[in-house]
Symmetry: C3
Subunit: 231 residues, 3 copies
């Protein structure tokens, strides 16, 4: 049990049960925890293979994971994924082929990057968030637990429209963001909101459907008051 490809370059620590396929590269001090799969082959390759481990290994292009990362247990990272330095995943995370994650980002347990998803640096994606193919998440974004992003305005259509979440935006827990929407820089989406239109930079929206309720500056002021109430 456990398997490390002869083509893989593991500079960090892999658990005995880890399955690492293809010419995966894993940086120094990076930890691949129990029951993880790294370099998992995309569907097309899997379908045309014998599904024997040796062949899956040969077919896999591998994943690249930087240094100082923690890839926690039961996480699956597909081939052609690139992950920067000091990135951490929770447990049971799934990152599909073609995704990129910048340095110092954290991907919560059960979160799924489902296709080619671009995640910037210092991003926090909380537990169970779902980001489909074509989603773009810029630097320093916060995505709360259970957020669902979509990419098809009229499922099941042949034309997908990715959601862009710009730098410094905050998405509250359980929000649903419809396909093609743009969340502007430093914009805030409240918990449970259904976002059907783009939110301009620096604005705060919530409700079902989400409406603009205040500015980010007002939000930051309320946050400051909230934080001071403690002392």
């Amino acid at each position: 049990m456990g398997y490390i490809s002869k083509r893989a370059i593991i500079r960090g620590v892999a658990s005995e049960s880890a399955v690492i396929l293809g010419c995966s590269e894993v940086g120094e001090e990076t930890f691949l925890d129990e029951f993880v799969c790294i370099g998992y082959p995309r569907r097309e390759k899997l379908l045309r293979s014998s599904r024997m481990l040796k062949e899956l290994d040969e077919l896999s292009s591998g994943a690249k994971i930087g240094s100082g990362c923690i890839i926690r247990s039961h996480t699956v990272i597909y081939e052609d994924v690139e992950i920067g330095d000091r990135v951490e995943t929770g447990h049971h995370v799934l990152i599909r082929e073609g995704s990129r994650i910048g340095s110092d980002s954290r991907i919560g347990s059960y979160a799924k990057l489902d296709g080619r998803v671009e995640v910037g640096s210092r991003v926090s994606i909380q537990s169970g968030a779902y980001l489909p193919h074509l989603t773009i998440v810029e630097d320093e974004v916060f995505i709360g637990p259970g957020v669902i992003v979509t990419n098809d305005p009229y499922p099941v259509s042949r034309r997908l429209l990715g959601v862009r979440i710009a730098r410094g935006a905050i998405i509250g827990a359980g929000a649903v963001i419809l396909a093609g929407v743009e969340i502007g820089e430093r914009a805030v989406v409240g918990a449970g909101a259904i976002v059907t239109r783009s939110i301009p930079a620096g604005m705060v929206a919530y409700g079902c459907p989400a409406r603009i309720m205040m500015t980010r500056d007002e939000y930051d002021e309320r946050r400051r008051i909230h934080e001071e109430a403690d002392s």
Copy 2:
């Protein structure tokens, strides 16, 4: 590590870490991936057993999985489940005892069929969808990511009412469907909708609570325009 019951008939390929219990039958070219459990015993059996693997194996009635299926990593399929041909699961899927899945259907990562759930053929269930005991999903239905179906109008009651999702219906991401509701043929539920009443065949509903907003024909026309905007 890994275990294949002597009673199991595996015509496809099982990973070394797969745990396969009881008289499970797995068809040709079907792939049982790393860290999967097949033929998992129902609660009543588990409670009265010693929980030793050998005994769990003896107690399990096994699962039946057709040919050409892909059961991806960390998936758990209970005993008394029947799965058709060319079905694929994502990673971390859970299918409880008594469920049936028709051919050519796909069950997304983290999706859960929680009890006796009937799923037709050519159905697409996206990531994280939750379908409880008594749910019926007919052929060619699309269920978006994070959809939650319920089965108890007054939890915790002694009388469950299953949801029926009729042929060709489309359920948008993150929708919540209340117990006993019927989603008619080719009906569409928008993303994030809370569905408190049945939706007639061929109608499109969304909102909280969901209201009928247009016909499926209008929806299909909008989809056509959306798809053509690309070219």
Copy 3:
């Protein structure tokens, strides 16, 4: 593959693939299923360690699990967790450091107790529910599938406010509960509700945002009528 710490005291049954760290204590007739991790070290310890299994084992304070429990496959339980007797988890459950669970409670598949969460006795937490740091769940509470509880009124702030769900309360599927809210004794939250304010004891609220719609007594009467309609 599989690992049991020399410091661990296992009075029940552990699968061969289970990874059990630190001075974990597991009671009689408790079952640790395939691909589980018990006594998982908190982040601070992981970061300063070599990530070698032996060292993780030495660093872990272990988890305490009572007797007659079932910890189903792919579940991760952190160190410094205390679990009573006859508790069951579903599959792919995650319980973080510092959490406490009383006896006879059940934690559904994919549910996450994300930090120090207090759960009483005879509690039912359904699949995929998310309970963050500081959440308190009293005895005999029912939390439906996909419920999201939050703890930060202005993410990302430095002052978290836990949610308290008092004895006998019922939270419907897919509800989102905002930080600092108190759900009173025997209160009911409807499926899909966004709960922005505290719900008094014995009241029923639903909608987006949730409003009080009836009393628990009326709810119980409706449930009684619903249950009798069957016979």
